[in-house]
Symmetry: C2
Subunit: 324 residues, 2 copies
Amino acid sequence: METRLDTARVRAAREVIDPVFLDTPFYECEALEPELGCHVSIKLETANPVRSFKGRGTELVASQLAGTAAVCASAGNLGQALAWSGRKRGLDITVVASRFATPAKLDRIRALGATLELVDGDHELARDRAAEIARSTGIRLVEDSLDLETCEGAATIGLELVESAGSFDTVLIALGGGAMATGIGHVLKELAPDVEIICVQPVGAPAMTLSWRERRVITTSATNTIADGVAGRRPIPEVLADLLQVADDAVLVEESSIIAGVRLLHTHAGLVAEPSGALGLAALLENPTRFADRRVVTIICGSNVNPPDHHRWIQAPSEIQSLR
Amino acid sequence: METRLDTARVRAAREVIDPVFLDTPFYECEALEPELGCHVSIKLETANPVRSFKGRGTELVASQLAGTAAVCASAGNLGQALAWSGRKRGLDITVVASRFATPAKLDRIRALGATLELVDGDHELARDRAAEIARSTGIRLVEDSLDLETCEGAATIGLELVESAGSFDTVLIALGGGAMATGIGHVLKELAPDVEIICVQPVGAPAMTLSWRERRVITTSATNTIADGVAGRRPIPEVLADLLQVADDAVLVEESSIIAGVRLLHTHAGLVAEPSGALGLAALLENPTRFADRRVVTIICGSNVNPPDHHRWIQAPSEIQSLR
């Protein structure tokens, strides 16, 4: 296996990342078993100041930054995390986001003191604009999944899984730009090679999955999913190359399954998950035979939802009916 | 300070308690500040297999048990935790609960393999029945808050708070039987005596608070609160004696404030809390002047809710209006 990542650097990263993002809860959630037909362990990345795993990467970025400013494009979670890590160190952070991004995420980016610029288009336009700002001002561009700090920060999750007492057969990882999948995948393939790494992406934002299947970059013309955290159209070649080394499979899931996953996590685990955080459960729901009786880990990677959306998603179909 | 607890034993307890219950998330939740007017840090006790802090105590109980069986009365969380700790060690666990207890809690107790006996009355009747079972069968009666394991298990939360990097002025602790309040209170009064310990109980279940204020046991004739986890009527004298040593104040909060607390935790922190877990936020909401700009810790002690109840509690008043 030859990826851009380095496990020794991942170990060292833990010395730099604020402990508030590390050693997150990891436990078997038996109450999910009857619905899913397999043993589900949860790695919970939402109980921290930015409610997603992204702080692991931005702590690395911010602690190693050469200058005093940085800019990133973000669907909302990376921007929040970079704003948090930057504020802590007195850095000027600019975040570029789509004006269609989840308002709750944009509010938190502003509240954390970052400069927020909205573009009238999707996440790919935000990426273009962030690159333009970096070029014109000379400040550091933080590119999610391309920049190794973002991958190796996320990879610390993999170390925690390997060092845990529990054993498991499969890890389900939300797939967007690929930082989390290549990060966790790299560490597990090196330290626990028998564990199956399955990436999960929405049918409505399949670019990286299609690229992984075809073994070449495939871009798409639009995305259509509530899982805003993983809704990209232009996979990064270097990240795809790493993903091809570490992923055993990449599956696509329907929107209805993602919503069902959000609801199951609330009902049976008492957890708030944003749609990207429920992709693993969606995959289990769609493939009961494949996962029957297996010991599966799913990473609840974020909980930044608009409350009214979450209210709607967690209603049981019968309750929704009764409200009509 | 002279309580029944011993800090050295509390330290030793951490070697015995399953790590899945220890070193829980502790972080500042800035998104709550605008609503509450103070700095709120959350100690999250819900991301574990039983969704409450009670596993800390039952791990101690079960690991030190002389026989092979135990019985406890429970509103649902202690019973779940004792069932979990007992199953792990091959023990026979019996749980006695009110038939009015939260169904989601009773379902989990059964699922964890314990024998569940329901009484046609409230928690105090369940306590009587559990004691009767212990007398007639000779098995160990686990009495929440009276038995030191339950207090010293909960006290490990206090050690984690003291050892954390953050500093704080006040800790708000849900008050029921008193195990958590005396446990955390003991450790903090010994190791961080400047921290203010405030217990919070619902107006509808005020027995321990009234007793603390009068410095003698005061029983009440009924309880009326959604905070089922703290709804007792007969304080235990030994626990009151400890509480008088460690608590700086005990306050009562209205049901509407508890619901508002549950809603704020969902909306701004992305957390599911059962009503007992939102008592601290209720106290902040009712006393904005007292807590203005202070650094407050609140322990989210449980998340075992009936999903439809939680759906109702987290609706904003305007949303509820629009559904009518």
